[in-house]
Structure formats: structure tokens, C-alpha cells
């Protein structure tokens, strides 16, 4: 059966949770051995990426991507952080096309409160 990157990452997470440094070395060595045997060495980067998402999920870390038309001041960023959970990492992006407002991306969802989208919606409501 084909094993997906996600399954590798999950296995790695479950094996390494709460291990001390010396045990970790052995587990990692064996894991790399397994990857080689299953011809998955090429997928290492993707597996690491999957591992990171699993880790963040389990530890309750939320990653946000906040896009705005202008630089946001720290006060607003702080407010956004507070509304999404305890440990929040924010990546900021500037996109002049938004005109105003913000757009927050969290995992597979986008919360859109940009002026541009509002205007598009207004246009739609006027044309029909």
C-alpha cells in the first residue's frame, strides 16, 4: 500500500513525542532508514512540512497570514492575535489591490474583510 507523506509525518510525531535526546537520535536514524527503504527520501521536505503542521496543530499554535493594503500598527496585530487563540504567529503581507481593510488566511479558510471584495459584492448586487 502506498503510504502518504502525512502518514509518515504522523508516525514520526507519535514516535518522537516526549523522547529524550539520545532516544530521538535512534528514532530519527531508523526513520530515515525507513524512508530510504520506501524510496521516500525525495519527499523529505514535504514530510517535514507535514510534520510542522501536525506539530503546530497538536500544540495549539495558530498560523495566520494577514494581508492588508497598508502597514498595520502593532496594536491592531495584537487584537487580531488575541481573537484567534493563545499562540498565534502572524505573517504580514501588503497588497495594494485590497484598497483597505484586511484579509486573514487561516489554514484552508480566508476571512475576507477587504474593501475590494465589498466593492465587488456591491457591484454584483447592483448588476442583477
Amino acid at each position: 500500500m502506498k503510504i502518504s507523506n502525512k502518514q509518515f509525518a504522523e508516525a514520526l510525531y507519535e514516535l518522537t513525542i516526549g523522547l529524550n535526546a539520545s532516544d530521538l537520535d535512534i528514532v530519527l536514524k531508523n526513520f530515515v532508514g525507513l524512508l530510504a527503504k520506501k524510496h521516500k527520501i525525495k519527499q523529505t521536505n514535504n514530510i517535514i512540512a507535514e510534520f510542522e503542521t501536525i506539530l503546530k496543530k497538536k500544540q495549539g499554535i495558530v498560523e495566520l497570514e494577514v494581508t492588508s493594503a497598508r502597514d498595520l500598527d502593532s496594536e491592531i496585530i495584537k487584537k487580531i492575535k488575541e481573537s484567534f487563540g493563545k499562540e498565534v504567529f502572524v505573517q504580514e503581507k501588503i497588497d495594494k489591490n485590497l484598497i483597505g481593510g484586511i484579509r486573514v488566511k487561516i489554514e484552508d479558510k480566508i476571512l475576507d474583510a477587504s474593501v475590494k471584495t465589498q466593492l465587488t459584492n456591491l457591484k454584483k448586487s447592483l448588476t442583477i
Binding site: S4, K6, K105, D108, K109, I110, L111, D112, A113, T117, Q118, N121, L122, S125, L126
Partner: protein, 495 residues
């Protein structure tokens, strides 16, 4: 409306506008090419849901897998890059339906491509819909007059029937369908012609012909051209039948032609292979039967409680070297209620339409024939069958008895009578009159090659002097007095 009023109206609209924070579910493109894309994310994506790629390009989710979603792209996939964000729309692929689409040439998404402006309709129907169930249907009972003698007399088609037109390339498959559409003028029928994977030049020629014959007034042409992506060819028949369903729901009768389903199956095979679905016989995916059965099952004859509308389907299949045992032809033959076989040999012998009456059948259409047609066509079917049997035999024998000779002569005349040029559909009463005349031996002394000319003269004569008789026949009346009258007319013509 004055300018001020417009401004006031706009102001009202704008002030009433509620701003909302939109929640969008998105995914990321991980692979794209050959008209399909594979995406991660989109966790709650539905099957057949529309997806929006950057730049307003739309896609349809087909494969929902553990980690990824496979979608076909409806548009220019070259512009989509790896890493692009894909949005869910929450809508199933829909096409505009309504009176406005009649007389137009549209693409598989229902957008106008005839340069006559956008099609604005109130309603949109999803292209995939379950066919009407048993309780909403009724048996076929009203004929579709194709105007083609060979078909109306011997392979009759009823409203709500699915009659396959099958044959090699260049045997006149499209010609039959187009003639049938042209003949629907004034018969209370809407027509939809779906061109799948065909040359744009051929479609342009067909549209011009339909316009010339005034058939575009009640016809919609749905085009997925040869240069359009495979996804368009795949969805075009569904788009067409969806437009037809709107009229059927309103109790109207619709004739839909799929030209041709072989190319749709090819397009579906292409998409399926690119999406890495396992190939089966002839590399078609396992559900290629369902592809056609769910489409043709939507042809129906609804009962009175459901409006009494109907959708008659004329699917076309192109065979390779008359091989009807290939996968797609056998599938579609088994789904439809009969088939019209066209043959290259007959075509080059000059028998056009090149219908092989011997192996063509209509499983339900007989019930839909009008009474006069049923009465006169029964005998010529027999005459033709006997003729075919004797024809091969007669090649070897020089001395034939009188009876055999008579049957051969009659058969040759019937075959000649069934010839008909393109774009010249005939009224059912004219067909009945000329078949009656041949059947009762009134044309036996005419040279075989002159049959069609004599038929024309005969019909002109009948129309000129006995119009009322034809009217009676067209109303479906048939009794001894009409038979006697017809005989009288024939004798009068012979003088």
C-alpha cells in the same frame, strides 16, 4: 427613467448594502496541466462543485481524494500556476435556461458565441440532474415527424423516444438530424442541436442552413468545438439537455440532437486518464456506460400530472469501418429505444438517406405512428424484406417466374421511392399518398429511375385537385372511404 431617478435608486441600493465578512474556503494548486489541476486543501469540497481559479477561470471538482482534489478546468488552463489559490464557490455547475436561449448559438457553459449579445436569463439549472422517475412518465404516443420517408414510414420515432443514429463517417448522420430539426417548423417543438468536438466550419455551415430554412426560430445550438478543452466536450450534452428540461418542465416538447456521443466519450476518457482513474476496455473508464445512460435517461415523455412535456433524443454515434461491436456503440445501442443504421455501401449506391432498413429498428415508435401511416407502411416493410431476400437470389437466375419478377419490380420501386434529397422534408400526408400509390401498384409501369419525378408530379396533382383528402389524412383519419378516394385519385392521375 430620468437621471435623477437612477441616481436616487442607486443611492437607495448602496445604502441598503450590508457589508459582511466573507469566509472563503481555499486550496492550493499542486499540479496543473492538460486541462486538469490537482489541489491540496479544499477540505469540504463537494463532488461536481465549481472552483474558482485566479483570473476568474472556473473548474469542476471531479476527484475527491484523501489529500487532494482533482478538477477539470473550463477555460485557459495555461494561465494557472502551481501554488495558485483556488476558491470554493459552493455551487454546482449551472447553465442559463429560458426562452432567451432559443435562436442562439452558445458554448457548453451557456454563454453566447454568436455575437448577438449576452444571454440574460432569470433562471439557472444545474447540469447534472436525476432523470424523471417511473411515476412521472407515460408511454410514447405522439409521433415526431422527421419528414424523411424512410424513417417516418419504417422506423417511426415518438415524442420522448431515444433513437440512435449510427454509421461510419460521411454517411449522412448529421443530415438526418438536421432534416428532422428543419421539419419541426410549425409542429410545436423546440429543438436543441449539441455539436460535440466538431469542426467550427461544419457548425457554421449547419447554423447557416438552419437559418436559411427558418429553423433557428425554435432552435438552440450548443457548441463545444474541436479546439475547445475536453472538459467542454464532456459537459456540452448535459448543458443541452438541461436547457431542454426547462421547456419539458413547462409542458413543451423538445427534440435534442447529440452530434456525436463518440467524441464526448473520447473527451471523458481523456479527462479520466489525466485524473489517473483506472482505464478499462478500450482505455475508457469504468463509468463510461453511466456517462451515456444518465444523459439519455433524461429524455422522457412526462405524464399529464407532470406537465406532459417531452424530450426526444437523437444521439449520434460514429463507427469505425462499420464496427458496431466496439465498446461505445454497443453501450449506446443498449441504452436507446432503437437505432437507424447508415451504411457507406448504400450511400455510394445512391440510396440517400443511406438507411439500412433491414437492421434499423424503433422499439417504441410504432405506437406513435398515425393511423394512415401505420396502415400503408406495414405493407411496404414486407415488400422491402421480400425484395432483399430475392435480390441476392435473382442475380444468378435468368428465368424468373412472374410472381418473383413482380416482387422484384415492386421492391426496386419502393427502394427508389425511399430516396430523398437533403433539406427537403416531406409532410406526413404526402408521404402516405405516395407510399399508397407505389404500394398499390400504380407506379409499376413507371421506369425505376423516374419514380421520384413521377412522385413529385403525382403529389402536385393531388395537392391541386384533392387538398381536402390530404387534410383528412394529416388529421389521422383512415377508413374505407378514404382508401377508395385515394384509389380514385391514383387512377385519375394515371389517365
Amino acid at each position: 427613467m430620468s437621471t435623477n431617478q437612477v441616481i436616487e435608486e442607486l443611492k437607495k441600493h448602496i445604502s441598503a448594502f450590508q457589508k459582511t465578512v466573507e469566509v472563503e474556503e481555499v486550496g492550493t494548486v499542486i499540479e496543473v496541466g492538460d486541462g486538469i489541476a490537482r489541489m491540496s486543501g479544499l477540505t469540504s469540497c463537494q463532488s461536481q462543485e465549481m472552483l474558482e481559479f485566479p483570473g476568474g477561470i472556473m473548474g469542476v471538482a471531479l476527484n475527491l481524494e484523501e489529500e487532494t482534489v482533482g478538477a477539470m478546468i473550463l477555460g485557459e488552463y495555461e494561465k494557472i500556476k502551481e501554488g495558485d489559490t483556488v476558491k470554493r464557490t459552493g455551487r454546482i455547475l449551472s447553465v442559463p435556461v429560458g426562452e432567451k436561449v432559443i435562436g442562439r448559438v452558445v458554448n457548453a457553459l451557456g454563454q453566447a458565441i454568436d455575437g448577438k449579445g449576452d444571454i440574460v436569463t432569470k433562471e439557472f439549472y444545474p447540469i447534472e440532474k436525476t432523470a424523471p422517475g417511473v411515476m412521472s412518465r407515460q408511454p410514447v404516443g405522439v409521433p415526431v415527424q422527421t419528414g424523411i420517408k424512410a424513417i417516418d414510414a419504417m422506423i417511426p420515432i415518438g415524442r420522448g423516444q431515444r433513437e440512435l443514429i449510427i454509421g461510419d463517417r460521411q454517411t449522412g448522420k448529421t443530415a438526418i438530424a438536421i432534416d428532422a430539426i428543419i421539419n419541426q417548423k410549425g409542429q410545436n417543438m423546440k429543438c436543441i442541436y449539441v455539436a460535440i468536438g466538431q469542426k467550427e466550419s461544419k457548425v457554421a455551415r449547419i447554423v447557416a442552413k438552419l437559418e436559411e430554412n427558418g429553423a433557428m426560430e425554435y432552435t438552440t445550438v450548443v457548441v463545444a468545438g474541436a479546439s475547445d478543452p475536453a472538459a467542454m466536450s464532456f459537459i456540452a450534452p448535459y448543458a443541452g439537455v438541461t436547457m431542454a428540461e426547462y421547456f419539458a418542465d413547462k409542458g413543451e416538447d423538445v427534440l435534442i440532437v447529440y452530434d456525436d456521443l463518440t467524441k464526448q466519450a473520447w473527451a471523458y476518457r481523456e479527462i479520466s486518464l489525466l485524473l489517473r482513474r483506472p482505464p478499462g476496455r478500450e482505455a475508457y473508464p469504468g463509468d463510461v456506460f453511466y456517462l451515456h445512460s444518465r444523459l439519455l435517461e433524461r429524455a422522457c415523455n412526462l405524464n399529464k400530472e407532470h406537465g406532459g412535456g417531452s424530450i426526444t433524443a437523437l444521439p449520434i454515434i460514429e463507427t469505425q469501418a462499420s464496427d458496431v461491436t466496439a465498446y461505445i456503440p454497443t453501450n449506446v445501442i443498449s441504452i436507446t429505444d432503437g437505432q437507424i443504421f447508415l451504411e457507406t455501401d448504400l450511400f455510394f449506391k445512391g440510396i440517400r438517406p443511406a438507411v439500412n432498413v433491414g437492421i434499423s429498428v424503433s422499439r417504441v415508435g410504432g405506437a406513435a405512428q398515425t393511423k394512415p401511416m401505420k396502415k400503408v407502411s406495414g405493407k411496404i416493410k414486407l415488400a422491402l424484406a421480400q425484395y432483399r431476400e430475392l435480390e441476392a437470389f435473382a442475380q444468378f437466375a435468368s428465368d424468373l417466374d412472374v410472381e418473383t419478377k413482380k416482387q422484384l419490380d415492386r421492391g426496386a420501386r419502393v427502394v427508389e421511392l425511399m430516396k430523398q434529397p437533403q433539406y427537403s422534408p416531406m409532410h406526413v400526408e404526402d408521404q402516405v399518398a405516395s407510399i399508397f400509390a407505389v404500394d398499390n401498384g400504380y407506379f409499376d409501369d413507371v421506369v425505376v429511375t423516374d419514380i421520384l419525378k413521377t412522385e413529385e408530379k403525382f403529389l402536385d396533382f393531388v395537392r391541386g385537385s384533392h387538398q381536402s383528402l390530404l387534410e383528412k389524412i394529416s388529421k389521422g383519419e383512415w377508413d374505407d372511404s378514404i382508401i377508395a378516394d385515394l384509389k380514385g385519385v391514383c387512377e385519375e392521375f394515371k389517365k
